[in-house]
């Protein structure tokens, strides 16, 4: 009884449940949905597809999680995705090798993250507003780079990032797995995670225990920029083209959604990287489900809205209290009351 209660209260319980339900729904429509097969040395299957198509989103959402943990938010990741892809394609189309194009694109993404971080820490601007600036201007910059055109390139090496295979698996999945592993190691095997949660949980208290929070926050935005930059490379490499207007459109919203679905509160503090990955997978699986269920793809957004609403309601303590209603409408006491009565 108690164990069941503890289980449902675990951060990952609702996200994982929703994901599993979605997968099961797919199995109902397509009996062989979960099966994997090897063709020409490459692993194929719907699960692989979900991971492959979801790779950029997972990556962006990882960066977003870290930023949200500091009590921030980054609305500019979509713009960064566009700029990074545009820069890389522009340089490759201009005859430069990957050795130039990739570092420049990545460097630019880091710089954009640095800009956001400095606005937040040095000028003390609210994150949602600070990153709104780049969100609005960034797409303009990306179009400036591409000259308003869609740049196409022809480079097998570049194709590898978003569309290639390595060891039988799509390269981008491996890239995302590596990014996840590195992020987990960095946050949980060092004290970075604790310090980030402290900064996000109480900025002033963190300053007074001697945490260099500005440094950490700038680092978080740069990491988020980096993730978005790599995601931008993946997206543009997959189609071998860069579209300043469309690349990464709305990915910031999906990424924030993934973070929230994964159980990290937008207010900062506690964060769950694995939850974020599950959140991103829910979003991607939903797309696939709509496709396999034979629902017209144009209705995807309606279903996204439904899933967002359901998951947010499930995570809302107010909603749960209302639904349960077994003890007659006992409101959960706030922290202050608990303290006063403890």
């Amino acid at each position: 009884m108690n164990r069941a209660a503890a289980l449902t209260r675990h951060t990952l319980f609702w996200p994982v449940t929703v994901w599993v339900v979605l997968l099961l729904a797919n199995v109902a429509f397509t009996p062989g949905f979960l099966s994997l097969r090897i063709r020409e040395g490459h692993l194929y299957g719907s699960l692989i597809d979900i991971l492959l198509f979801g790779a950029p989103l997972i990556l962006v959402a990882l960066g977003m999680t870290v930023v949200i943990a500091t009590g921030g938010i980054d609305l500019s990741v979509g713009a960064t995705v566009a700029i990074s892809g545009a820069l890389a394609c522009h340089l490759i189309a201009g005859g430069h090798g990957l050795i130039v194009a990739l570092p420049v694109a990545i460097g630019a993404s880091l710089l954009l993250g640095l800009w956001n971080g400095l606005l937040v820490t040095r000028l003390g601007i609210q994150p949602i507003i600070a990153t709104l600036i780049l969100m609005v201007a960034g797409r303009g910059i990306a179009q400036l780079i591409t000259g308003g055109q869609i740049i196409t390139v022809d480079s097998d090496a570049y194709k590898m990032i978003g569309g290639g295979y390595w060891l039988g698996l799509p390269f981008s999945i491996l890239l995302v797995a590596a990014a996840l592993a590195v992020t987990l190691l960095l946050t949980r095997r060092t004290a970075l995670g604790l310090l980030l949660e402290a900064v996000g949980g109480n900025a002033e208290a963190s300053r007074l225990v001697g945490i260099r929070s500005s440094g950490l926050i700038v680092l978080a935005y740069m990491f988020c920029g980096l993730c978005a930059g790599i995601a931008g490379l993946m997206i543009s490499s997959n189609t071998l083209s860069a579209d300043g207007n469309q690349a990464g459109l709305w990915i910031e919203l999906d990424a924030i959604l993934a973070v929230v679905l994964g159980g990290t509160a937008l207010t900062g503090g506690r964060f769950a990287l694995s939850g974020t990955v599950v959140g991103a997978l829910i979003i991607q699986t939903l797309d696939t489900t709509i496709y396999t269920a034979g629902i017209p793809p144009r209705m995807t957004l309606v279903f996204s809205a439904a899933v967002v609403t359901v998951v947010c309601l499930l995570q809302s303590p107010a909603f749960r209290a209302k639904v349960r209603r077994r003890p007659p409408a006992a409101p959960v006491p706030s922290a202050a009351e608990q303290e006063a009565t403890a």
Binding site: L123, G124, I125, Q126, I128, I129, A130, L132, I133, L134, M135, V136, A137, G138, R139, G140, I141, Q143, L144, G148, G244, L253, I256, L257, V260, L266, P296, R298, M299, T300, L301, V302, F303, S304, A305, A306, V308, T309, C312, L313, S316, P317, A318, F319, K322
Partner: protein, 335 residues
Amino acid sequence: MTTALSGLARRAPFTLRRRHVPVLVTFGLFLLAFLTGALRYENFGTGQVFLDLFIDNSFLIVVAVGMTFVILAGGIDLSVGSVVALSGMLCAIGTMRLGLPAPLVVLLVLLIGTGFGTVMGYMIHVFEIQPFIATLAGMFLARGVCLTISENQISIDDAAFDAVALNSLALPGGLRLSYGAVIALAVVAVAFYALQWTRTGRNVYALGGSEQSSVLMGLPAGRTKIQVYAISGFCSALGGVLFALYTLSGDPTHAIGMELDAIAAVVIGGTVLTGGSGYLIGSVLGVLVLGVIKTILSFEGTLSSWWTRIAIGVLLFGFIALQRLIGTRRGSRTG
């Protein structure tokens, strides 16, 4: 003593204060941009170009009015662009496919928009879902419904719509103002009155200042919170009707990103995104500033459209930095 007090009480209501500075700066910026345009280009510095700003941005003005209510109350509404598109689609469907009379269609659209906002407000207030997420879901839903109704543009060829859209109000001096712009200005007037002179309006400011205090002072904080999203939903729906009038069509891809323009206009107008501080008139000026930039770029001709975005970004940065400089609220420490 008493004379000193009555002197204080008599103080003029609009003494210049620090909190008025952002609006004045926006006004100055608008004048500057308009004058620059007038000096650079022939045919720019005319009354009609000025009125065109209202005509071409009537829908954005209305949407920004709704957004101002939400932001003043400390929230945010990402759904406005999608609701504009949905309302336009519904106008087109209602008149062209269902053959309903235009006034009925408009009434229904306004009701649906208001109801849509009310539901989002309800989710935000009762289930404590963050405004960003709740309205994001609303944005997906409205856009999704648009696409579900039709993936293609539907032209509106309705007598009533045509009559309103193709005629305009003649002003002295040969100037013309479209009825859409007239409606937008009327909305601004009503909203201005509501914010300054009604209890509901003041409750919006109080809610944005401190939700906890609002509750403890016995103000209807929950009702106000739902109200602002309902108002924003109404304004978005009305904006959608105006957009349909302006383009005489409904299109599921209309008004993508309009929420950003509306938020940018509100911020450029000097309203603080954390709520509680700002003026409606600033938001209108914000829309006009965005409009002037677009007009200048269209007069320039050689400049590409993406410069608009970059310019808006630079303006946003400027205004946000200005707000930091003025530092409307700074906590004082005692001890």
